[in-house]
């Protein structure tokens, strides 16, 4: 049975996506504010099995530096020209929309399209990830995927290729051309293909996580972790922040635990691994959430500053990734060249 979401569900939903962002994925604020004014509430979310499997589907998301979206606000219909181009290329209308990156800002993206399209509760990552070749459909090699994206000044780029890495590189290049951030649409697949090749029920998980978090936000830290179905990994102060000597995108945060433990959080644009006393405690695809231990804000990687008092929690990653070693190798820390951090699960 389809789920109906009221406007009141928006805050927990956004909070849930923030948690699934694992420190990345961008702040949900922009879309949260846009959707508050939407006249489309209540919105309906369909399960994959509730829709005709042959229905064409698309996914929409923002790509690039999500921080820029706060400075250069996206238009009222940021995805319209991209969808139009995709439909023109495919030669048919696409009536269903799913999410591309169900962690952070992009978890809310399908809801901006709810007026014209049916929302299906399926997602191509189940958490925030940095590159496009990590989309589940591409990881599993589903054929016929096309991608459209902004190239700036109203221009649209359409990519059709068998090589997933090209999508990442071409879209990344076009996005830089578009000013560092822009929209992106995946299409060329059906609802039926999502059944095996996507993370299902991610929106429902987000809503439940967000509700649990907001209910327990100011309780004990271990209480929050328990309510989220996760583990409290650490509480302490960030004592040093070190850039990785080999990869400038990698940062290691040293956290002095309140009981004297020595923690290290390793992050790129998302939190990727967490180590306590030299032992791995959590690693991607597990979700590592960092909270401000005092304000209880969910912190992004860019919010982690020296001397900040933080709490770190682990939430289970999407099971979909762990079903085969081939899927897993796309999201574990070694996918980013970080040795000795795989396999905490």
């Amino acid at each position: 049975m389809p789920t109906t979401l009221e406007l009141a569900d928006l805050p927990p939903l956004a909070t849930g996506f923030s948690l699934l962002g694992s420190g990345g994925g961008g702040a949900t604020t922009i879309l949260d504010l846009a959707l508050r004014d939407s006249t489309d509430w209540p919105m309906t979310v369909h399960g994959v099995n509730e829709l005709d499997p042959s229905l064409p589907c698309l996914g929409a998301a923002f790509v690039g530096a999500t921080m820029l979206l706060g400075e250069r606000l996206p238009g009222a219909t940021p995805f319209a020209p991209l969808i139009e181009a995709a439909e023109r290329w495919l030669g048919h209308r696409v009536p269903v929309v799913c999410s591309l990156e169900g962690g952070g800002l992009n978890g809310l993206a399908p809801f901006t399209l709810s007026r014209d399209r049916m929302i299906v509760d399926a997602d191509l990552t189940g958490r925030a990830v940095p590159t496009l070749d990590q989309m589940s459909l591409l990881v599993d090699g589903v054929p016929g995927i096309i991608v459209t994206c902004d190239s700036g000044a109203g221009g649209v780029v359409l990519v059709e290729t068998e090589r997933a890495l090209d999508i990442e590189r071409v879209v990344r290049a076009a996005t830089i051309q578009a000013g560092g951030a822009g929209g992106m649409v995946f299409a060329g697949f059906t609802v039926g293909e999502l059944r095996d090749h996507a993370i299902l029920g991610n929106t429902a998980r987000s809503l439940s996580l967000g509700t649990a978090f907001l209910t327990n936000q100011f309780g004990s830290l271990s209480g929050i972790a328990a309510a989220l179905g996760g583990r409290l990994l650490a509480e302490g102060r960030i004592t040093s922040i070190d850039a990785d000597p080999r990869d400038q995108h990698v940062t290691t945060y040293s956290i002095d635990g309140s009981a004297g433990e020595v923690h290290h959080l390793v992050a790129r644009s998302e939190n990727l691994a967490f180590m306590t006393d030299g032992r791995l405690a959590a690693a991607a695809p597990e979700i590592i959430v960092v909270l401000d231990a005092i304000s209880r804000d969910i912190l992004e990687v860019t919010d982690l500053l020296r001397a900040r008092h933080v709490a770190v929690m682990q939430l289970d990653g999407p099971v979909w990734w762990s079903r085969s070693p081939d899927r897993l190798r796309h999201v574990v820390p070694s996918a980013y060249g970080l040795a000795e951090l795989d396999g905490a699960a």
Binding site: S240, T252, S254, V262, H264, M275, G278, E340
Partner: protein
Amino acid sequence: MSEALRLGALLAHPENGGVRTIAGPEDTEWTGVVVETTEPDLPADGNGRLAILTELPPTRPWQQDALVRRARDRGFRALAVPHADDFGAGTRALAVRFGFTLLHVDRPMLLAKACWQLIEARDALTLSYVRKVAQSIEYHAQGLPDLLRHLSASVGHGVALIDAEGVLLEVGGRLSPEVHAAIDFSPWVDLARMPAGTAASVRVDSPSREGLRLAFFGEGLDDRQVSALAVAAEVAMPAVAARILIDEINEVNDASVSSGVLRDFVDLRGTPDDDVERRMFDRGWRTTGYHLAFRIVGRSRLDARQLLRFVTGELGRISIDSHATTSGRGVSGWLTFFEPPASSQVERHVASLRELHVAARRSFNIATGVGSMASGSMGLTTSLSEAGDAAMIAVNRSATGWFVRVDGLGLDQLLLARTSNDAFVPIAQALLAPLESGGGVLLKTLSAYLDHESAVSPTAAELGLHRNTVAMRIQRAQELLAVDMSDPEVRLALQLACRAVL
């Protein structure tokens, strides 16, 4: 693996591959050591040992954490790896948290060798020290300090030559007084161990100097190292004893050459002589400039060479070009100024010489004479001659502390020109001229009076005069000369003048 391996002993080992503590306990010891290429090669049963890895460790903080963690989980208590000094604060904190010692080492194989020597191959350690002693003897040494420097540099520990009073010479460190006090001077070999350090010493059999010991010392040395160093000291001792003798012979030789040069120079009395000039120049003596000579003579028998050694040492404290050499039964020397010195400067240096004299009197029964300031070759001769004269006077001058300076005497020129000096007679005649008026009787009476220790009766007896006559003539002479005859200096001057004129 019979005995424990102490971190302190490793740190004190001269060839430990540059090991140093990065984090964790420093006062620690291990049951043994394991050397492997990488951490996965380490055995699972660390059993409180030290692990040495030869390959470079990972550079990322979490990998470094994991390395420390795994080594500790295997039961090791310490880990030595190259580049551990690059480990971040987090990893260091982790080592502290585990009570696990993290060591940086530049050359792991050398550290492994040092461990092996300390744990299993004590003879190898001893042999390596002995070989180093042998190597250091092979090199030419300028003197005893140089030999000790060679020994210290190649053995890698401090070396000291000590007697019961304290340290005579030390190189490569400082032997703490606490350790010195703990050294037993009676046995052939002694091992002293104190919290402040450790020393292995051996008696030095030197015919000329008794009660000397040669000690190797350091901090943190364990028993095996100290025992090995004791053997090294035994091997080094004959070389040190021989060096002491050689240095003494050289010193005697050098002193006699110097003394000969000075004698030849003085004999020239200022006449230029190329050969003597060259020999003086070879010794660094220059005749140009302004000279202030001094002479120190023994009031009783003394070893002029020992006195010279002392004087040379003390002259080092005077910040002016100075030279000294043995000469007869004493030491002659001079200070040389390149510019004409101000009188205050001269006074200051005379004061320094007096301090030298006072210091020397603590060990030697001596008297010192200081000449006047004079320039050039002739001036040096003059000043040396004056100093010699002053010294002769000083021998009997307890009132001035056996220190006499030519410029400090009222009738100085007269006194110190002495009878041997051609300049003396005219001066003496000038001084005694007032007495000529009496036809010479006053002079004769005065001379006899002074010769009889200023006693009237013996003088009268010798001259066949009445006591009152003698007393009257002396009174008259005193009036004519206008001098105070109660002053011993005046009496002596008059006596010498009488000797010269009569």
